[in-house]
């Protein structure tokens, strides 16, 4: 008799999400990703003073608030085509970079590693599923936890030097930055950075490589559609025409030069999302957030963003691929390796940015917001992030955000095409349906900013599941 195994929550993810997986003969044949939290930030922003946006939107995510601050100030500045002083651009990059490092270390050691190695036999690490753990608990990776705790903390301390405090750094304001660099703060920053570069080089990257060597099969698992895209991040000049990570997209895992993104080709489907169908397939600049729950055929609080109507994966692998820094492959383990290598690339670039700060030069020029539409594009640690804003006399009349996890964990769209994570789960072999660690490995490789739940069912049980979770 088929058994229904609902696994909810899946853990070691930020936020709330569930994934329902259908397993047939030990293989995932279908998957549905569900965002289970709705807060309505876009509605909250309507009618507020434009300068409130960087404050409010940072609270979307406590792991990557700096990315939201960045996207928000860029969006507001674009309304009046304002550029900020070089010092402000660099200080923003340094604070964003510090948060990348803390986020990547947090993800590997605290969210993902437990999928591959048993950690301490005590809460919160235990109890846990016990299947396919190929690396013994005595491995040095396990012993690196205290240094990883220290490294993540130090990365936040480094970010607070110019960000004031972490998380939630509101030194980001339209028109520039509030903190002013001094020789003392630069020296302090550099000391933390050097310590972290050493950690990334001598501990983090080798640990990821070690797991990759033992779980080499995961270089061919969880690839998905292999469509990658990046908005790009870390402006290297005043107009942002040069960036540390470039903008572009590729399809079907193609190598070589990426194609140029046309921002008009982004739209969001809500056919299977708990939002009114009157808002279906809109460009984010015209987007609207009208919740509707219950709604037939809907199963997620996430909208389904698409580029030219197709799903795309965002994240460190996408960035590194588009930029030509990493094109080994697209898989679970490639995502981890690209993420670790990216941490080093960003950290090393930060050394250069630090030396280009000019003590005494301005960090702020007039950031008054008038009327018009704007867009701010950047990259959160876990992928492309966009803010679209419409303002009238300095007040917000429309605000739309597309987070990287909306791209990666999106539900099906109006053409019934699965999102990237849903697609990547299909075909994954599961040894024990009661402990589907393989599913977790795929999910965690995207570093989704959601708490997640996996509902494992077998095909014949589908009717019962529908009655349990009346979504379809």
């Amino acid at each position: 008799m088929p058994t229904i195994k609902i696994i909810d929550p899946v853990t070691r993810i930020e936020g709330h999400m569930s994934v329902e997986v259908t397993i047939d003969n030990g293989r995932v044949v279908d998957a549905y990703c569900t965002g289970t939290l709705f807060r309505g930030f876009e509605t909250i922003l309507n009618g507020r003073d434009a300068w409130d946006a960087p404050v409010i939107t940072q609270r979307i995510c406590g792991v990557c608030p700096v990315s939201h601050a960045t996207a928000s100030v860029l969006a507001l500045e674009s309304i009046d085509a304002k550029s900020v002083p070089d010092n402000a651009r660099i200080l923003r990059n340094l604070t964003l970079g510090a948060n990348y490092i803390q986020s990547h270390i947090l993800h590997f050691y605290f969210l993902a590693a437990r999928d591959y190695i048993k950690l301490l036999n005590a809460a919160p690490w235990a109890p846990a599923w016990d299947v396919d753990m190929r690396i013994p608990a005595t491995d040095p990776i396990n012993g690196h936890l205290p240094q990883a705790i220290e490294a993540r903390r130090r990365a936040h301390e480094m970010g607070a030097i110019f960000g004031g405090r972490m998380p939630m750094a509101h030194t980001f304001i339209p028109g520039g930055f509030t903190a002013v660099p001094s020789q003392q703060s630069i020296d302090k920053y550099l000391a933390q950075l050097d310590w972290l570069i050493n950690f990334i080089r001598s501990v983090y990257i080798p640990d990821v490589q070690a797991i990759g060597a033992v779980y080499s099969d995961y270089f061919s698992i969880g690839g998905g559609d292999k469509n990658l895209f990046a908005f790009g991040a870390f402006d290297l000049n005043a107009g942002g025409t040069q960036k540390l990570f470039g903008r572009g997209y590729i399809e079907n895992g193609q190598t070589g030069a990426p194609a140029a993104l046309n921002l008009n080709d982004i739209s969001e489907s809500v056919t299977h999302s708990w939002y009114s169908d009157s808002t279906n397939n809109l460009h984010p600049s015209a987007g609207s957030t009208v919740p509707q729950n219950p709604k037939s055929n809907a199963y997620s609080w996430l909208k389904a963003p698409r580029y030219t109507g197709k799903p795309f994966e965002a994240g460190p692998l996408a960035r590194m691929w588009i930029n030509g820094d990493y094109q080994r492959g697209i898989s679970v383990m490639d995502r981890h390796l690209a993420r670790a290598n990216e941490a080093l690339k960003v950290a090393e670039a930060m050394r250069g940015w630090l030396s280009s700060l000019r003590i005494g030069n301005p960090v702020y020029s007039d950031g008054t917001v008038t009327s018009g539409s704007g867009v701010g594009l950047t990259e959160a640690a876990r992928g492309a992030l966009g803010h679209w804003v419409l303002a009238s006399s300095g007040k917000i009349s429309r605000y739309q955000v597309i987070t990287p996890t909306c791209w990666n964990a999106s539900p099906r769209d109006s053409q019934n095409v699965p999102g990237p994570m849903e697609k990547a789960l299909i075909g994954v072999t599961v040894a024990d349906a009661n402990q589907p660690v393989e599913v977790l490995r795929v999910i965690h490789s995207y570093d989704p900013c959601l708490a997640c739940a996996v509902h494992v069912i077998r095909p014949k049980s589908r009717a019962r599941i529908v009655s349990v979770k009346p979504r379809y």
Binding site: I7, C61, A126, W129, M168, A169, W195, P291, G367, A451
Partner: protein
């Protein structure tokens, strides 16, 4: 094979030596890896736990920022950091971001442990719209459990209810007008009294030291907003009263160092908290220290009470 705590400690010492990355000690200075003086490594402080009390940590309409902030704890006194807290001081049996267990195993663990004595910690506000379905936490026996139903159940049985951050304490940013998901504070949603540790995010010391008080068998003295008086109450804990920039010239625009920020919109005069002296991130800095205004993030009514936050462009 899983490690016992004792075996883990041995491994930690070994791994730290191999990696040459033994930690900078509780001072958190910017020393090079491997240069930490003996006896100051966090590894040494990780002595075997003696079975601390069970803490069940739920996330409602949260952003995980308070959890991330908790991980920034570092101090010379116990718990010295988040590893020390988890390994030696509390039994954090449920925390979706940190725990190994998933699915049924996690829910069973929660059910088993909540049958005994436990402390409930809640991060995030509690959505009540859509019958609570704006925030679903887990499934139990095939039934989706909302944050609203979970917190009502657990808060009625816990030894103490801790609100971690402004959202759980007062509603916070996601409850801002028009409060699209009709979020309530834990106290509103449950009718139970709560110990409120606000802040957006909460400072790790506020969280850890409040838990330490409870573990020592003491109930922290609370102000009328349910906040521990030690960190939030009295004239001496008004941010402006304690601000080192209080007597300085006022900044008329942004990006000037060392000035009072009141003209730009600083909420220090309306805000309680020991930020000016405690500072953040291992005493690295604080908002005003980076010329950023105080947002009033520890106060009931944040953010609407203080919005708009800025005088655009300056005073």
């Amino acid at each position: 094979m899983q490690l016992t705590r004792r075996q883990f400690l041995t491994l930690l010492a070994y791994s730290a030596a191999v990696a040459g990355c033994g930690g900078g000690g509780s001072s958190g200075g910017a020393g090079q890896p491997g240069t930490a003086p003996p006896g100051t490594s966090p590894v040494i402080s990780m002595i075997p736990a003696n079975g601390g009390p069970t803490v069940l940590w739920l996330s409602g309409a949260a952003c995980s920022g308070c959890t991330v902030s908790l991980a920034n704890r570092i101090a010379p006194t116990d718990p010295t950091d988040v590893g020390d807290l988890l390994i030696n001081h509390i039994n954090l049996a449920y925390h979706t971001t940190l725990m190994g267990a998933a699915g049924d195993m996690a829910v069973k663990n929660l059910n088993d442990l909540s049958a005994g004595p436990f402390i409930l910690a809640v991060e995030g506000g509690i959505p009540t719209a859509f019958n609570g379905k704006a925030c679903v936490l887990w499934s139990d026996g095939g039934t989706e459990v909302t944050a609203l139903s979970a917190v009502r159940d657990l808060a009625s049985r816990s030894m103490a209810n801790l609100c971690i951050g402004t959202c759980a304490s007062f509603g916070g940013v996601a409850a801002a007008s028009p409060n699209p998901t009709q979020i309530q504070s834990v106290s509103q949603a449950t009718g139970k009294s709560t110990i409120n540790i606000p802040g957006c995010p909460a400072h790790p010391d506020w969280i850890v030291l409040t838990i330490a008080e409870l573990l020592a068998g003491r109930t922290p003295a609370l102000d009328s907003n349910g906040r521990p008086t030690t960190f939030f109450s009295g004239e001496s804990l008004n941010v402006h009263e304690r601000c080192p920039r209080r007597e300085r010239d006022e900044a008329g625009t942004f990006g000037l160092d060392g000035r009072c920020l009141q003209e730009l919109g600083c909420k220090g005069p309306s805000t309680q908290g020991d930020c000016p002296t405690r500072q953040w991130n291992n005493k690295t800095n604080w908002c005003v220290g980076a010329n950023a205004i105080c947002l009033g993030c520890t106060e009931s009514g944040f953010p609407d009470r203080f919005s708009p936050f800025y005088r655009q462009g300056g005073g």
